[in-house]
Symmetry: C2
DNA sequence: ATTTTAAATGAACAGTTGTTCAATAATTAG
DNA sequence: CTAATTATTGAACAACTGTTCATTTAAAAT
């Protein structure tokens, strides 16, 4: 059971997270100040520290939440498909669509990151590891069904796979102002490239 | 003809660039202060501003120089090969080897970048554009020789190609402390993945 | 209604850093 | 050798920001 007091606390917490998301997305990590965030959430700066240890903590809480929800919906949608290829398709699509929806926030990755936080910590976070493991499992399944050569190590291929997707996304983010194509439309190309390469015939 | 005065000026400039390279590599952009850099170059902080407009300018001058030298040696080595596949091989190898040699400096990319500078500006820099164009030309050649399907747009494929390499490098940088494999050894895998995908048989 | 407990505030603190510029030192010219 | 020019210096400036904490305000308990 959750007390009224606790629920209110959660609400305030999410007020701050919401403001943080907006400002991190708008200005990047360094240029979004605690003052800004507190102001947007309609609190004083000190209040932020009643909910988060420090600025880093706030940022990672936000990130963890985002990734958790991405993994959750992806798993859910992938589970509905039967054959492996379809699963991979949905996996890619879901990933791209999530980034498209949250593009402002994820823009931080191309704009600025601070020393030791960056991806190293993200990948090692609980949800990060879960995601990596889930992806490897999916590809292992694809290997079993003969879709992917058994020469490759599943974990390694999983890395490359997510890397490609990540890269496509980053590139897309960077050129968003120039082109105006849909990110999800790229999912076919990605899978083709990954599964069949670009070889002729 | 270059006067003594000018040569000395160039020398001081490169003193500062050298120190900047070391400290940016060691601490990242934000945490490497002008004071640090000046001190290591054995100058006072004010002197830096006699050679560079500001910290940003210093950073980009460094980056431009690095990229210029990379493009130059790559072009030189690639030109020596005759068949296209070999050219691609050398291209990949050269890229990887350059990053391996300058890994400390390029570590900045995974550790921290500031707002509007990041890759957007790099890619649009003169050398960045030249590199992109050169890569596209190489892939266009590969298309002509039937190595790559003509369905693809050369510029687009060039992007994906460099993206994959970049990603592999970033991943490698991130895990350098964990694994200890050689970056250049990955070139074969990269080309295989790119040209043939990971399809079975 | 009064006391006790908890939450929120925001001014003040402490530290940092890019940048400037008057003063100083070194170089060059006459 | 002296004067003029140029380069170098580094203390001082100004602006910023994460974080704290004494004080105020609100809520809960009695």
């Amino acid at each position: 059971m959750i007390s009224r007091k606790e629920r209110d606390k959660q609400l305030r917490r999410s007020d701050i997270l919401k403001a943080a998301e907006h400002l991190f997305a708008l200005k990047g990590y360094h240029k979004a100040t605690i003052r800004d965030i507190a102001k947007e959430a309609q609190y004083a700066s000190g209040t932020v520290y009643l909910h988060f240890k420090d600025k880093n903590d706030l940022y990672f809480a936000l990130l963890e939440e985002k990734m958790k929800s991405m993994l959750f919906t992806t798993k859910e949608r992938v589970a509905q498909a039967n054959d492996v290829k379809k699963k991979l398709e949905i996996f890619v699509q879901e990933g791209l669509s999530f980034f498209e929806k949250n593009q402002d926030f994820f823009r931080i990755f191309i704009s600025e990151e601070d020393g030791y936080f960056s991806e190293r910590k993200i990948l090692k976070s609980s949800t990060g590891l879960q995601t990596q493991e889930y992806t490897a499992g999916l590809l292992r399944e694809a290997q079993k069904k003969g879709l992917i050569s058994k020469d490759f190590d599943a974990e390694q291929i999983a890395e490359v796979f997510t890397s490609i997707i990540k890269t496509i996304i980053l590139n897309w983010l960077q050129k968003k102002d120039v082109r105006n194509n849909n990110l999800i439309d790229l999912s076919g190309t990605i899978l083709r490239l990954f599964l069949k390469g670009v070889a002729d015939k």
